[in-house]
Symmetry: C2
Subunit: 413 residues, 2 copies
DNA sequence: ATTATTTTTTTTGAATTTCAAATTAAATCA
DNA sequence: TGATTTAATTTGAAATTCAAAAAAAATAAT
């Protein structure tokens, strides 16, 4: 009875109290399996504090509908113990295909993952214009997705969910874009526009939130319930995970770390305000300063500037030095406010070494409220280029998972 | 079968999955009643999405054990509608007496509330020393509580829970104090010390968190699930409520707004670091600056400084002006990170007008990420002197409520 | 080779919770 | 006085979960 198909978003209305409770067991079990990768029933029971009897019942149903499957024990057990051998369970990859799409200035990146999170195919579509009207962008996105599907040898209709990541201010709950650097218009009901092109559920969010989701599902935030992810692309982004959920704020636009003020009446930011962190650590900010303090060597791009600093250029060093200190100050503020267990500095390119350095992290630790308890762990995670798109897919996987389980509860009559 | 008595903290161990669920219905109902003040069963049903049948069952049990009671309809109904009249329910004040204690530098404030939140008695015990050893402080606290009880004409043993608020870094989960300005020692297991003096459950937390609790239960945060409270006493504090719960961070010391950095290598703070917000807006910071820029008039205390500013003194004005701008900047950062629906500027004295002014709030609004959605509402709430102690009591009320319901679930065999 | 032991998983029957539907209660309206 | 309306309660059924018992599947011991 394994299913592979489109999920009906229409059924996902408000649930009654009892429905929520009924759903929670299955959701908890599938989340545990996903977090663990593969895990035996008995361990699910201890992890979730659900009785073995119930775990058996729930997993049986999930296997029945094809969302999970038993792992065939390949290797003859290393540590041979007595007793009935445990049978591990895992997410069934073939259950769904999920697309993740990241729109950046020069390119639309697409990745299609299976339900387990394995890469099926990826694709990039170069963009002529960084900023365009909504309809045009929707078309480009669907083009990119279509090309990716052809490359993978399957039809777009076999995709169960699409996650889309945008730089900007997004209300994920409503699939609504207040503002994006990729769009001409403000206040766009992006979800509605994109829904015209495809019947499958669509999930739109700020790109930094999506990276946080990716870290949570596939990355260094696995099995961590509360952490903060900082990303740098063109701007500086932050994603906050509290109690296993992305914290989004009341209007859906929290975690605007990049526009946190680090200097009263400070440097001018892209956003038109002064003193934003981004105006000190963003690549454009560094290049701008390099031009101001131009010493005749004519630093043209960031690579050159980095090289100059490495080779001892005092001007260049000073620029990176200030950026690093401002970044440390911003990070310290986040720690003072959130007291997270873990901070993940997540990057797709290594060119931000100057911000992700031990020195900066050490400085941050010094600027944090000092108590006799271990300071937050800081991990630097360099993903490949597909980081952003994978984040979008991670978000969609989680949402599709929820929808699938909700549908299951409803279809049981 | 109405109970009035001490709750056994010992029974409150880890609960199984099913216990948690069993508990949730009652907890939800009692929380709804408390939030509403008084509310009919049918409205509880719609608010909680629990069926009327279940609400009847749950409320019957809660009435039976004396935690809630029916409100006798005094006035003949204003809006005379057809149909069976609804009978409102409310928390039964006599169910428990709860003490809230706030330790500040010069005084220990005690308030005893009934279970509904009504003030039964309050009391202040002046302190000679602001900072003392833990045993001494425990003794002073119990003295203050004892005196308050005598004043109220009841015995200390009739109190069901004690909340204690301290300035400093506290891990509420463990009743553990990393550091407090009222204590000589660092890293004190305050809960264990205080428990030697009384058998009833004790709940210790950072004072700003407690004010947030008070706003949530009794103040302007009533019926608001997510908001931020800023408090100013000697230092600057913040309490964050996310999804109806105080956000405490991984080590229990989040929301350290006062030590958020607003200036790289800035003014020296009490905490030994530089550039903390507190070092610009705290009373000591203002006085310090006034001395530096002493113009011969010899500003000696904050009142004089405020008066000087009002009467047009340029120096004094400039001091308050900078404090206000720094405060606005800090607030803007909080908004950019949390995107709260509501910010409550909570104060016990009116002397912080210069920070809670329209001008500062307007400035904050300008420094926030601009989107076409309403900015967070900002409310100024001036409580009386008992604000801090009431906050401590609010926390204890909520915890005792949880314990009482948990006990109920257990005692049902 | 057979039995004992250990551990995981499944089955079973009971307890609990919740709800929909029917019923009762308590008011006003006609 | 009876009809109507709304709130609260009762009742019986459905769903969920679990403890305890049983079964399954391995190794260890004899």
């Amino acid at each position: 009875m394994a299913s592979q198909g489109v999920i009906d978003l229409g059924k996902a209305g408000r649930l009654s109290h009892s429905d929520e409770q009924r759903e929670s067991g299955k959701q908890q079990v599938i989340d545990t399996i996903r977090a663990a990768g593969s895990i035996a029933r008995i361990d699910i029971s201890t992890a979730t504090r659900v009785s073995p009897a119930t775990v058996t019942a729930i997993t049986a149903e999930l296997i029945d509908v094809g969302l999970i499957e038993e792992v065939v024990p390949e290797t003859p057990r290393q540590v041979a113990k007595r007793g009935r051998p445990r049978v591990a369970l895992k997410i069934r990859g073939e259950a769904h295909k999920i697309a993740g799409i990241k729109v950046s200035h020069r390119v639309i990146s697409v990745v299609v993952l299976d339900f387990e999170g394995n890469n099926i195919v990826d694709h990039e579509l170069p963009l002529q214009l960084g900023r365009m009207p909504i309809d045009k962008l929707c078309k480009m996105i669907m083009d990119a997705l279509g090309q990716a599907c052809s490359k993978g040898g399957f039809d777009v209709s076999s995709i169960s969910g699409i996650g889309v990541g945008l730089a900007g201010l997004v209300d994920a709950k409503r699939n609504f874009v207040y503002w994006s650097s990729s769009l001409d218009e403000r206040n766009v009901d992006f979800g509605a526009h994109l829904a015209r092109h495809t019947p499958c559920p669509i999930f739109i969010d700020n790109d930094a939130n999506l990276v946080a989701k990716a870290e949570h599902l596939f990355g260094k935030g696995r099995n961590v319930s509360d952490f903060v992810v900082i990303t740098i692309e063109h701007g500086v982004g932050m994603g906050i995970v509290i109690d296993n959920q992305i914290y989004r704020g009341s209007r859906g636009c929290g975690a605007e770390f990049g526009h946190t003020k680090v200097q009263l009446e400070g440097a001018l930011c892209q956003c038109g305000q002064r003193g934003c962190l981004e105006a000190y650590v963003g690549d454009y900010a560094l290049l701008r300063e390099a031009n101001i303090t131009n010493d005749g060597t004519g630093h043209r791009d960031l690579g050159q500037l980095v090289a100059a600093a490495r080779s001892g250029d005092q001007m260049a060093r000073s620029i990176f030095d200030r950026a690093g200190r401002m970044f440390a100050m911003g990070l310290a503020n986040v720690v003072n406010i959130f007291d997270p267990k873990l901070i993940i500095l997540s990057g797709a390119r290594l060119s931000f070494d100057y911000l992700y350095s031990d020195q900066v992290i050490e400085e941050m630790r010094r600027w944090v409220v000092q108590i006799d308890a271990p300071p937050p762990e800081v991990l630097v995670h360099n993903w490949g280029d597909l980081m952003w798109a994978k984040g979008a897919a991670a978000y969609a996987i989680e949402e599709v998972s929820t929808l699938a389980i909700r549908e299951l509860a409803c279809s049981e009559n």
